[in-house]
Amino acid sequence: MAPSKVVLRFPAAIADKPIIFHLVKDYDLMINILKANINPHKEGTMVLDVVGEKTEAGLDFLRRQGVGVQPLTEDIVRNEERCTHCGACTAICPTGALYLERPAMFVRFDSEACVVCQLCVRACPMHAMEVRF
């Protein structure tokens, strides 16, 4: 069975298109939007709960539109021991879940805002961001 929770990443060119609407209309899916975010570069990220028989076909449709689709089976955690508060992740994180607290310049991680895109996992020079299954 297809995963019920998925992370979607929309490139800027299609972030404003009514794509989710088609999931409901053409694929009879029940959609619950858990998180949604559009960054200043107009790239969108969304975490959906999807229920319905045609889930897999619906996700294929998304992929054809250029949307990145990833199952949400993981959580991102920060290894506080390894994090040096350098800040290298803060302009990479698309949702602002990793951000600098000014003026003290501590790097904070708001896991509520994290959409598990995992960009920070490879970009963090200290390997402080970890995937937990």
Binding site: H41, T84, C86, A91, A123, M126
Partner: protein, 405 residues
């Protein structure tokens, strides 16, 4: 006003009477009470920086096995070290990579482990696999050795970093159409972000731009232990960058060569570091005390983020092709605010250098001095400053004329 000497300040430190402030505190002090009063009252200003510094590494002497071996090739946790020294001496560079590393074959490579990580493992007290090959001599008959060592097992382990503590550094951006994976981090296309890498108003060499106090023999905080400035760093270009519109010139690229006993250091301040798509390196914590010898030294040490500027450089075309020029200057105050304007576009900024750790280092060093356990080292020779007229040399491609031999 009267000048202070290193000896006078050290006497005060010994007596527990020295007034020590961090560079961050000095900025505040001078803004409130003026530079004249600060120069009179403050004896030492402590600075700090914590960032990836690729030109780092360590010398080791492993002691002799029975029978003896003369290293011809040597590896630590499979990372090659340089063995072109005496029998069991070796130098391990921070950016060295394991033999089987896929590098950038699957771009961007992850570079999860390298020389910097070996150094971190050693200072953390973790055992490290030593493997070496010899070719066998009458006095060093063994041809192969494989064993496990810890830092305590070694005769000497000396951190020796030929280029650290860059005075100032580029703010890196990407004008091109695709994501770049650089030593300045991941740069998103079309000015998607801007990365910078100094601690600004806490950064050691930005606080002594004319090298009035720092030289060979300056005692420093290095990797959590005590170290020394032993020479200028490689690519030491201390000339000042001219800012447009008559603004005060900003320091460019002075650097330091530093050395210290690895056995005193801690993994908190020496960290193996991986730059996605670029390589492995070592993040190094450095703190330098600046003696307030006079008002001029105090003036420079108290310059705030708003008066310190970094050049903005494009890493898509200009940097890789060594094209001169830049996209203008931005102050560290602007960089730290989180947004700068480049070519009319608002660009989010992020540091690679930890300001939090830099501040912590400046505070630890302050504490060491207040407790009287860290005295200032008076340089036996100051480093070349802006007046030395040093200009960068470039590497030109010439025909060696040896092709037919």
């Amino acid at each position: 006003m009267a000048e202070k000497t290193f000896a006078e300040i050290n006497a005060k430190i010994r007596a527990g009477k020295a007034v020590v402030v961090t560079a961050e505190e000095l900025v505040q002090f001078v803004a409130e009470k003026g530079v004249g009063r600060a120069a009179k009252e403050v004896d030492v200003v402590t600075t700090g920086t914590f960032a990836p510094m690729c030109s780092s590494g360590a010398f080791f002497n492993f002691g002799h096995s029975a029978p003896r071996i003369k290293f011809h090739r040597v590896w630590l946790n499979n990372v090659p070290a340089y063995a072109g020294l005496a029998a069991v001496d070796a130098f391990l560079g921070a950016t060295a990579l394991p033999e089987e590393d896929p590098l950038n074959k699957n771009h961007p490579g992850e570079f999860r482990y390298g020389g910097g990580h070996v150094i971190e493992d050693l200072v953390a007290g973790r055992p490290v696999r030593l493997k070496a090959l010899g070719y066998g001599t009458d006095c060093y008959p063994r041809r192969e050795i494989e064993t496990v060592v810890t830092l305590n097992d070694l005769n000497e382990a000396v951190l020796f970093n030929p280029r650290n503590a860059y005075q100032n550094y580029n703010c890196a951006v990407n004008l091109g159409p695709k994501t770049l994976y650089t030593y300045m981090g991941v740069l998103k296309p079309r000015l998607g972000n801007a990365h910078y890498s100094t601690s600004g108003q806490l950064s050691p060499l930005l606080k002594d731009p004319y090298f009035r106090t720092i030289g060979v023999g300056t005692r420093i905080f290095l990797g959590g232990g005590t170290g020394y400035v032993v020479w200028n760093g490689t690519q030491h270009f201390p000339g000042l960058l001219a800012l447009p519109e008559g603004a005060p010139p900003v320091p460019a690229g002075g650097t330091l060569a530093v050395l210290g006993d690895l056995k005193q250091m801690s993994p908190q301040w020496l960290r193996g570091t991986s730059m996605l798509g670029y390589g492995a390196t070592l993040s190094v914590g450095i703190g330098i005390p600046i003696p307030v010898l006079n008002e001029e030294v105090c003036y420079w040490a108290s310059r705030p983020d708003s008066e310190l500027y970094a050049p903005v450089v494009d890493y898509a075309e200009a940097y890789p092709n060594r094209r001169p020029g830049n996209l203008g200057f931005v102050s560290y105050a602007e960089l730290k605010s989180g947004r700068i304007i480049i070519e009319g576009k608002e660009v989010p900024t992020a540091p690679l250098s930890s300001y939090v750790k830099a501040r912590e280092i400046s505070n630890i060093l302050k504490q060491w001095i207040l407790e009287g356990k860290f005295l200032l080292g008076e340089p036996v020779q100051l480093l070349p400053g802006p007046d030395a007229g040093i200009t960068p040399k470039t590497l030109e491609i010439r025909d060696s004329g040896r092709r037919n031999r």
